[in-house]
Structure formats: C-alpha cells, structure tokens
C-alpha cells in the first residue's frame, strides 16, 4: 500500500492502464470541518451556468476557485479503482508491488467563504410585489422555495434569513414581498381599529386583530404578516398570540411614506410625522437612523429618505452608492449604513480601511470618511 509503504521496501510507480487527462476528476481542498459535510452529502453547488460556482452547506456559502500548480501532482487511486474489468491500481502478483497514476492534476479547487449573494433575491422578488389588486397583477414569474434555491447563491439558512430581512411572506407556496402601499393600508386599518376597540399596542390579541381585519376584507395571511413586520410576539403571554408593536418599525414606516415623494423641510416633516404616529408610541428622530439623511441647504434643514435596506449588500457597491449620496460622512451618520455589512474575515475597521479615506480637518474635529 503506497500510503503505508514499509521501511526498506519499494513500490513501482506506473502509469495506470487508464491514465489520461480525466477532466472529470477534480481535487477540492477543504477545511477539516467541512469534510464530514461533504462525505455525508450535506453540500450542494448552486448557481446559474453564467455565474461562478458556489458551494453551500446548510448555513454557509463558499466561492469555488481553481488554484493551478507548476508541480507535477501524480494522483494515485486505491487498488480497486478501475473503470472496467481491466484492473490497474496496485498489484501484488508481481515481485515488486506497483501503484498506478491515473492522472497528473493541474491543480485543485479551493473554497473561500463569502457572504451570500442576496441582492438577486431582492430583485427577483421585487418583480412582482403583492398588492391589493393581486388578482390582476399575478402574472410573470413567481418563486417557490425550490425556485429560489436554484436562482440564489446562498445556503438554506442564509436564504431564510434573507427572506426575513426582506419581510417576505409565503402565500400559496410562493414567496412574495408585499407592496409598501398595501402594507400601509393594513397597518393604518390595524391602528384605526386599535383606537376604535381600545386595544393597547403593547398587547394586541392576535385572534381579535385577525378576525376584525379579516372581516374588513384583508387576507388572514397578510394580517399575520403585518403583525410580524411591525411587531413582535410577546413571549411572556400565557395564552399565546399576543403582540407588541415595535416603535421603530412603525415610525420608520410613516417616515418612508412621507418622504416617498421627495425630500421635505425638517419642520414640515416633523409636523406630519408626529401627527401620524399613534399616541401610545413615543417617536424620536434617532429611530430613523439608517433610514433618513438630513442636510443643511442654506439656513434650512432638509430630510430625505435613504434606507439601508435599499442598498447593495456587497461592500464595494455599498460604499460607492453612499459616497454618491454624500461625499463626506461623519462616523455617527455612516455607521448605521454599514453596520449590516457582512464580509467573512473582515472587521468593520478593516472595511473602512479598505473602502474609505479617513481625514480629520483639525485635532478636535470629528474624523470624516470619503471615497478612496
């Protein structure tokens, strides 16, 4: 056995009877911790023919790259490896045992952990937003979970997290993003009913909310979705099904609605925003970090929408857009817009170093970041 060649013995290395290029045989180098995932069939390759191949475990995504070598790497299979009755491999009948080379490998594949490619998920689900006049707009491509697996280069866990981050909802087996205007209608109806029925926004009873809104004509699925998007389940509730509306999410929703048509002067924005927010919720401008930008034009302060959720997930593209929106950023304004960037192996300091130029106008001034 070549691998256990005994001291003072020899083995003749030969070309295998089926020696050849064998382009269908490739070597893949992987971390020890991935070996059992591969052997136990828990990994898949995902992607379209025109994309780079990625390998996915249940929770992570890896880019597959080829690394060539100028060395001669003789690949020797075990004794019984053969593609027909003619056997090669090792042979103990002769005086000197032999080991056969099936191929000279030009290199091997290796894996680089990457962030899942979720930008595509957002764009394909945005093709057909679920809106109130669903019946007339349900044409074009809709995607079930299996369709998403085939199109999006991400592991199962990362895909699930991506759907959650997009507030996508599964309706009739298809994953959909609901049109913001429709969500607005449902949310306002919920708030309107809360006032009418004297519901506390901190303890909304699921059954009551669903039955009232269903009788108002909203699909059950969407009412649950609304609770999920704008609230959280209260864990401590004994008889389950109690929800608390989340101040930030509600406030952001109304801010987005006001700024959808364009920027507004601060006073005008604040006045309308405060008017729309339900009494029980305490608004504060900080809740809008990562959602709006303020800028001084002359003596006026203006507010405009810029939602981190609308920005690309890859760092290079993200910074490029941020610096187009504003040439110079202070850390306190920039941080909410890069907080969610995920690059395996790169800390946020490293990201800043790589993509920005840091300058400080004077010793006691705040440092400022601009494009490289």
């Amino acid at each position: 056995m070549l691998l256990n060649l005994q001291p003072t013995s020899s083995v003749s290395i030969q070309y295998h009877p089926f020696f050849g290029p064998h382009d269908d045989l490739v070597l893949l180098e992987l971390d020890e911790k991935l070996l059992s995932d591969v052997l136990y069939q828990r990994v898949t390759l995902r992607g379209q023919p025109d994309e780079d191949a990625v390998l996915c475990t249940k929770s992570k995504t890896y880019l597959v790259k080829f690394v060539g070598t100028s060395n001669s790497v003789f690949l020797i299979p075990p004794a019984d490896y053969s593609t027909s009755h003619e056997s090669g491999g090792e042979n103990y009948n002769q005086q000197v045992p032999t080991a056969s080379v099936i191929k000279v490998a030009p290199g091997n594949m290796e894996l680089v952990e990457v962030a899942p490619r979720l930008d595509k998920l957002k764009s394909i689900l945005s093709e057909n937003l679920y809106s109130s006049d669903e019946a007339s707009t349900a044409m074009g491509d809709l995607y079930k979970w299996d369709d998403l697996i085939n199109k999006v280069q991400a592991s199962d866990d990362e895909l699930k997290a991506g759907l959650q981050a997009l507030s996508a909802v599964e309706i009739d087996g298809y994953w959909r993003i609901v049109d913001e205007k429709y969500m607005d209608v449902i949310l306002r109806m919920l708030l309107h009913n809360s006032v009418l029925n004297d519901w506390s926004l901190d303890s909304l009873v699921e059954d009551k909310v669903v039955s009232v809104l269903e009788s108002d004509g909203f699909p059950r699925k969407l009412v649950y979705h609304c609770l999920n998007v704008y609230g959280s389940r209260v864990e401590e509730a004994m008889d389950g099904g109690v929800w608390r509306l989340d101040a930030r999410r509600v406030c952001v929703h109304f801010a987005r609605g006001i700024l959808r048509e364009g920027k507004r002067k601060m006073e005008s924005f604040m006045e309308e925003w405060l008017r729309m927010i339900p009494e029980e919720i305490q608004p504060s401008f900080d809740l809008l970090e990562g959602e709006v930008l303020t800028e001084k034009l002359g003596v006026e302060t203006w507010v405009r929408a810029l939602s981190v959720s609308s920005l690309p997930t890859t760092p290079a593209d993200r910074f490029s857009i941020l610096f187009k929106e504003r040439a110079k950023w202070e850390w306190k304004d920039l941080e909410p817009y890069i907080r969610d960037l995920n690059v395996p192996g790169l800390s946020s300091e490293a990201l800043l170093l790589k993509y920005t130029r840091r300058s400080q106008p004077s010793i006691d001034a705040e440092p400022v970041f601009s494009a490289r």
Binding site: L2, L3, L5, Q6, P7, T8, S9, S10, V11, S12, I13, Q14, Y15, H16, P17, F18, F19, D23, D24, L25, V26, L27, L28, E29, L30, D31, E32, L35, S36, V38, L39, Y40, Q41, V43, T44, L45, R46, G47, Q48, P49, L55, S70, N71, S72, V73, F74, L75, I76, P77, P78, Y81, G88, T98, A99, S100, V101, A105, N108, I149, N150
Partner: protein, 136 residues
C-alpha cells in the same frame, strides 16, 4: 440550478487516495508516448523507518518525505447524465444533469522538492525527470 454532491461509496467507506508531488516534469521517450499503460515511471523506496522516501526516475534520484496536507482534499468525479424524463418533456436533446461524486479523500502526499541527484550508471530510461525551469 443545484448540483448535488454525493458520496456513492458511503462516507465510512470512502477510500484514501495518494499523491506523489514533484517539482518538475516527467517526460516520456517519444517512442513510448502512445503506450503509457502500465509503463513504469519510477521506483519509490522508503529506506528507513522514517518518513523519508527516494524516487528514482530514469537517471535521476529524488529525495523527499511524506507530509500531511495542511487541509484535506476530496477527489470529485463529475458525472453527466441525460435526464430521460426531461428529454421527453422538453423535446430537446441537450437536457443533461451534472452530479458530483466524492470518490476519495487525500490527507497526505509524498513531496519531492529538492534537486535530483544523477545516477552514474543505470538502464536507458524510457521515462525521465526534467527539472522544471522555475523548479527547486
């Protein structure tokens, strides 16, 4: 699309393959180019109980050692097969599926990276080792 990575031999029975790695290129004498099957490349010897090895290729003797790979490798075989059902449905002849099958794993290699020594006398080699220009 999704390509399944299988291990049809089963994880526990997955065999270990071996690698011999040289810094250089092995050349076959022109008259033997087309009949490589079973042609001897060289003789691998382990002179002592240490993991040192010699590999004699033609006139050259290489010395090397067995080393554990810093990361294990698996040997994958690409299997292309025609999806008969799909062929019937789509009435196209180019509906093929690809699968990857893990046929082995590798944890060690026997590495030769020093300049070979030339043997003074020996048989006329049908195979000889040529030092890579960038080599050792």
């Amino acid at each position: 699309m999704q390509i399944q990575v299988k291990c049809s031999c089963g994880a526990e029975k997955c065999p270990e393959w071996a690698i011999i790695e040289l810094q250089g290129v092995v050349e076959v004498q022109p008259s033997f180019q087309h009949s490589l099957q079973n042609l001897q490349i060289g003789l691998l010897c382990r002179p002592s109980s240490q993991e040192n090895y010699t590999f004699t290729v033609g006139y050259h003797e290489l010395t090397g050692y067995k080393v554990a790979l810093k990361k294990p490798m698996v040997v994958l075989k690409k299997i292309k097969y025609m999806d008969v059902e799909r062929q019937i449905d789509e009435a196209t002849s180019s509906s093929s599926c690809v699968e990857l099958d893990v046929v082995g794993f590798i944890r060690h290699k026997i590495l030769f990276k020093t300049r070979p020594t030339t043997l003074i006398s020996g048989p006329q080699p049908t195979v000889k080792e040529k030092i890579n220009a960038e080599g050792a």
